[in-house]
């Protein structure tokens, strides 16, 4: 069996940040990423990020990915690409699937930064070709340069729905409407205003009732919802479109942690099943840490800070003290506090309280 000091599962913003800090603390890091490239969702993000300078505010996501990837090169992090971790077992052993082969790795510590997967929406004919998740649209468009359609309707007004709509417009696609089941826009208003002034109709209290088309999507039928999210009879409307993009939230990719029998809790505000963890980000499995979206759905800015904390702590518990440990620990926790402080952070603060983290 291959033996490693620190194994990081997931090469997105959290995993890459963890790798950087743990390496700086002197650990030998092996990072496993199931995709063909590092960066996670960052490589699809063409917009400038929010936050403050320490989280690369005003830098485009794809450029943040470059910065983080370069850091791992600088620190000689051992990178395994196209390597899916399919099992987490006792004594910190994982099974990796790569090049049609399985192999086992034993680690002194493991950081789980697997991120999240998209939620989908149940409606009639939701399997018609032309109906995508927002992540798939970004992958097609921003990685492979393929347009998902000519006329798109977006479902969901969270930041992802708003940002992907804007990217569709930038790519020359007509965004016919953005529908949102709630009574108000979910994401940042500045993103919504950008769409609105470009002529996108933002329709609240509305959802998709069914998709219609012969072999592929041709139109959708929307329906209005009342305050109790019940369909209002007779409020159906038809929108012609050849693509429908679903962006109704994410849920943590908890499967490895669940398989390893970590103590888990279903927390709605965090997007689903998340691990209970200590303030050092250690799960109930000794020396197995978790950070980023797998511990609760948030912005990439927070995932990067969490990754750094997990890297710092995983190293510390094995006796690798980061040269700037004290200042870094205080500073990173302060950064998280600030990111979660405002009204946008209310949901995450409420969710984290349920798993024992307090931000008041």
């Amino acid at each position: 069996m291959i033996e490693k000091e620190l194994v990081i599962i997931g090469g997105g913003p959290a995993g890459l940040s963890a790798a950087k800090v743990a390496s700086e603390a002197g650990m030998k890091v092996a990072l496993f990423e199931r995709s063909f490239s590092l960066g996670g969702q960052l490589i699809k993000q063409t917009h400038k990020f929010f936050g403050s300078e320490s989280q690369y505010a005003r830098v485009r996501g794809i450029e943040i990915a470059d910065i983080l990837i370069n850091e791992t090169r600088k620190h000689d992090v051992e990178i395994f690409l196209n390597a899916t971790v399919v099992g987490l077992y006792k004594d910190n052993i994982i099974t990796v699937y790569q090049d049609e082969k399985y192999f086992k790795v034993k680690a002194k510590a493991i950081i789980i930064a697997t991120g999240a997967s998209e939620k989908f929406l149940a409606f009639e004919n939701n399997d018609l070709p032309g109906i995508y998740g927002a992540g798939a649209v970004q992958t097609l468009m921003n990685i492979h340069g393929v347009l998902p359609g000519k006329e798109v309707v977006m479902v969901g007004s969270g930041n992802i729905g708003l940002i992907v709509s804007y990217q569709l417009i930038q790519a020359g696609v007509k965004v016919k409407a953005l529908v949102e089941a709630a009574g108000h826009i979910g994401g940042y208003l500045v993103h919504a205003s950008k769409l609105r002034r470009l002529g996108v109709d933002i329709i609240t209290n509305t959802t998709v009732k069914r998709a219609v088309g012969n072999g592929k999507l041709e139109r959708i039928v929307t329906v209005k919802l009342d305050d109790k999210w019940q369909e209002i009879e007779g409020s159906e409307e038809v929108i012609e479109c050849d693509a429908l993009c679903i962006s109704v939230g994410l849920s943590p990719l908890h499967q490895l942690l669940s398989m390893g029998n970590a103590n888990m809790l279903y927390v709605n505000e965090l997007g689903g099943l998340v691990p209970i963890k200590t303030c050092d980000y250690e799960t109930s499995i000794p020396h197995v840490y978790a950070c980023g979206d797998v511990t609760g759905i948030e912005e990439a800015s927070s995932a990067m800070v969490e990754g750094k904390i997990a890297g710092l702590m995983a190293a510390k518990h094995l006796g690798f003290i980061h040269p700037n440990y004290d200042s870094l620990e205080a500073e990173l926790n302060q950064q998280l506090c600030v990111l979660r402080q405002g009204p946008c952070g209310e949901k995450i603060r409420c969710g984290l309280k349920k798993v024992g983290e307090i931000y008041d």
């Binding site: 208003l189 405002g342 009204p343």
Partner: protein, 158 residues
């Protein structure tokens, strides 16, 4: 309403503008209506005219006495929520961040749109196009002064 439509009402817009006599010089109009964790406008301003403070969720406040209308914040704002406005010879001038293709060319007439995306009755003239390294282009346009509070962006070439 803006929480439903994404468009600021004219009252909200006016609350972000200084008095008209101040606009004989260019000033940044910061249309940040909701607290989000973000502060590049403050950190990018070379004149310390924008204040947010240590809680980066606070809505930016601008000191129009210090603001020179340089437009650096308009380029820095990740939300594309800042424009620079000025009044001169009966016309309103705007510097806006623009991230679509094709880019306008100086001298062209383009349709103008309000915050709801409705096309305005009068077109605007492209006065300047400043390409930048970070790929947010700053476009300067002029339009008749009565559209001062209505103009939001350029639509398409006429």
């Amino acid at each position: 309403m803006i929480e439903k439509t994404g468009a600021a009402t004219i009252e909200l817009v006016k609350s972000k503008f200084p008095d008209k006599h101040v606009l004989v010089r260019p000033k940044a109009i910061i249309e940040c209506y909701k607290e989000i964790p973000c502060n590049p406008c403050e950190t990018s301003c070379p004149f310390d005219a924008i204040y947010i403070g240590s809680d980066i969720n606070q809505i930016p406040r601008i000191d129009f006495n210090k603001c020179t209308g340089c437009g650096i914040c308009a380029q820095a704002c990740p939300g594309l929520a800042i424009m620079v406005a000025m009044i001169k010879d009966g016309k309103a001038y705007f510097k806006i961040p623009y991230e679509l293709l094709p880019l306008p060319i100086v001298g062209e007439r383009w349709s103008a749109a309000n915050r709801y995306g409705d096309v305005l009755d009068k077109p605007c003239l492209i006065e300047n196009v400043k390409k930048t390294k970070d790929r947010t282009t700053i476009v300067t346009v002029s339009i008749e002064q009565p559209y001062l509070y209505e103009f939001a962006t350029i639509g398409s070439k006429l």
